[in-house]
Symmetry: C2
Subunit: 187 residues, 2 copies
Amino acid sequence: MPQTSPKTSVRERLLCAADRLFYNEGIRAVGIDRVLVEADAAKASLYSHFGGKDELIATYLSRRVQASRDNIDAFVADIPAAERAYRVFDFVIAWTESSDFRGCPLQHVVSELPSADHPARAVAAEQRQYLLDQFSSWSRAAGVRDVEQTAGALMVLFDGAVAAAEQDGSQRARDARWLAERLIRGG
Amino acid sequence: MPQTSPKTSVRERLLCAADRLFYNEGIRAVGIDRVLVEADAAKASLYSHFGGKDELIATYLSRRVQASRDNIDAFVADIPAAERAYRVFDFVIAWTESSDFRGCPLQHVVSELPSADHPARAVAAEQRQYLLDQFSSWSRAAGVRDVEQTAGALMVLFDGAVAAAEQDGSQRARDARWLAERLIRGG
DNA sequence: GGTTGTATATACAGACCGGTCTGTCTGTTG
DNA sequence: CAACAGACAGACCGGTCTGTATATACAACC
């Protein structure tokens, strides 16, 4: 997520600032005034583009989620479908090794905003469905015996890799990849 | 965590109130005035027993963590050491099925308090070490070939079970148990 | 009674919170 | 030129945040 140039629209500047601050410091830890200073924007602009902080949060998460999907889709594009279920964990490893990795924004939202009717929660739920659909599809392509069970286990591994890496470092993403490969290929 | 009686010490009342509110609503979402009202306590008592909110948070997490250890230790006490690594996930399943389950308090702390020097973060780090030690010990007792790799994978499964269950429900803890057993017993 | 330890009620300070509003400015278009 | 859209600065609102300070109350003990 690059720094914005002066010519960037105020909406984009707000979203970039929110992205940096919310992800690195926490959603509730960062008030809108900090977002505004970081974005060099006026408060009225924030309320004009987003009804309020809640919608800014939901849009921030939506963009994070969309970027994640695009990255995953691009990563697996040249990988045979039968190998994607475990080789996608190479993507997770790279992510957890990146200097700006601080865990999963979706998990953060779920932690910080427990209310099921927060607009960001719908974004989170939709991403869960996407991931499950992918893992199911890839499990089927790998020819596993129990697609539903395997896809569920892969969801666990995916979440666990990211959560554990946030605390213990990227070795946990490697651990997850090791187990995912054993799960798919046996042995 | 039961309701406190009028005879309970103010420190205990504060901790019980903090426990309920922080866990259910989020640490930053709950200000100390809400803790005080819930505990029927005066502000000076809070500052007298805990230097401030940060120490209250650290103590809340420490108690959660200690309770978790006690529960796990009690749960596995009558289980042969060779079976603990996967049968501990029955404990996780029961936890994720309980009506007051809302994910892992330790993961919440890591999400909400990114600063490594927050007092609660030391509590979190110490609990990671305890879990790794347990999984290593149980993996060794199970006779697995690569103890370190297996323990790491179990850490991923543990974290993943809890994080995924917070979002998708307790079926994910069952998925984790299924994979943990396959990992330990093969097949 | 006096002393001690604990807890309380209350006021305050300064900073911050999300949101609303008004007036002004700038660049673009017809 | 006028009109407009977008963005801005700044004031304001009521409320909340954490922490500090003071006087008082109460129970237990000697």
